[in-house]
């Protein structure tokens, strides 16, 4: 087939005119829309994510139990949860805390 005939056929595509008031409608709609601050998009996404993020209660309870359980077992077996600080050092720190008095600072 002749390419020119085919191209003429393609060019024959119908495209309507935009309604005459479309620009005015867009401009009017923008008056009721506030502009995003540079980080507004990220904030909105984070807010949406946090609002939409629902942890099922049993899973939440299990997670809390797991964290406390692990830390209890590790502390009881003398393993420090704080890198570089031994469990004994920590208990010593708490012991000091027990005998600390506000009057010491005055």
């Amino acid at each position: 087939m002749d390419e020119r005939i085919f191209d003429a056929y393609l060019k024959n595509r119908h495209t309507p005119e935009a309604p005459s008031n479309l620009s005015a409608r867009i401009i009017e709609a923008s008056r009721h829309t506030s502009q995003d601050a540079p980080l507004e998009g990220v904030k909105r996404w984070l807010r949406g994510f946090m609002e939409g993020f629902v942890l099922p209660q049993p899973a939440f309870a299990l997670a809390v139990l797991l964290i406390f359980g692990t830390s209890f077992v590790l502390t009881a077996s003398g393993v420090s949860l704080w890198p570089g600080i031994g469990a004994e050092d920590l208990s010593a720190a708490f012991e000091v805390g027990e005998y600390w008095d506000a009057g010491d600072l005055l």
């Binding site: 087939m1 085919f6 056929y9 393609l10 024959n12 595509r13 119908h14 495209t15 309507p16 005119e17 935009a18 309604p19 479309l22 620009s23 409608r25 867009i26 401009i27 709609a29 923008s30 008056r31 829309t33 506030s34 502009q35 995003d36 540079p38 998009g41």
Partner: protein, 204 residues
Amino acid sequence: MLLAVRDPINPVMAEEQVIQDESLVARICEGDHRAFAILVERYTQMFFAAAYRICGNSVEAEDIVQDAFLKLWTKPQAFDASKGVKFTTWFYRVVTNVAIDAGRKKKPQAGSDVIDLMADDRGLADEAMIVNERQVALEDAIQDLPERQKLALNLCFYEGLSNKEAAEVLGVGVKALESLLMRAKAALKDKFEDRERKGRENHG
């Protein structure tokens, strides 16, 4: 795009016409609503046509153009002129993405506006009917193309973008775009030839 038409009767209008798109977007970033209005007035028709060619429905095309312009208003800093991309090329991408999203959300509908047009034109002469039927067939054939082939054809053939610009809009390489374009035209040509053959059989 720079419109350098000077209007001696309306100097304000003339001033608006020589402002570059990129400068207007910079002003929109500072909250200049007038700059936004100038861009909207300048490009509504052009991008309405582009949106219509993607979705084939004028009501949807209006929504697409409005959404795209409101995205520009709410987040003008998304356009980065320092990358050397023309505003119109970038905005084609915005309109295309909005149209694709809208197309995925909507339920499938039967046919396009041209079919309604044809129904309204039943009283016209036979010749006009044939032209109309051809337009319907063409529109349906284009709308039936795979999405990326349709977009490539629209951008290069109807919007007049260069292959490089169209490739930027679609986020593909120039070779990939040329391949999409070639397949789109081949598919349409097959349908056109098939239709012409059937027409000859019916009349002969």
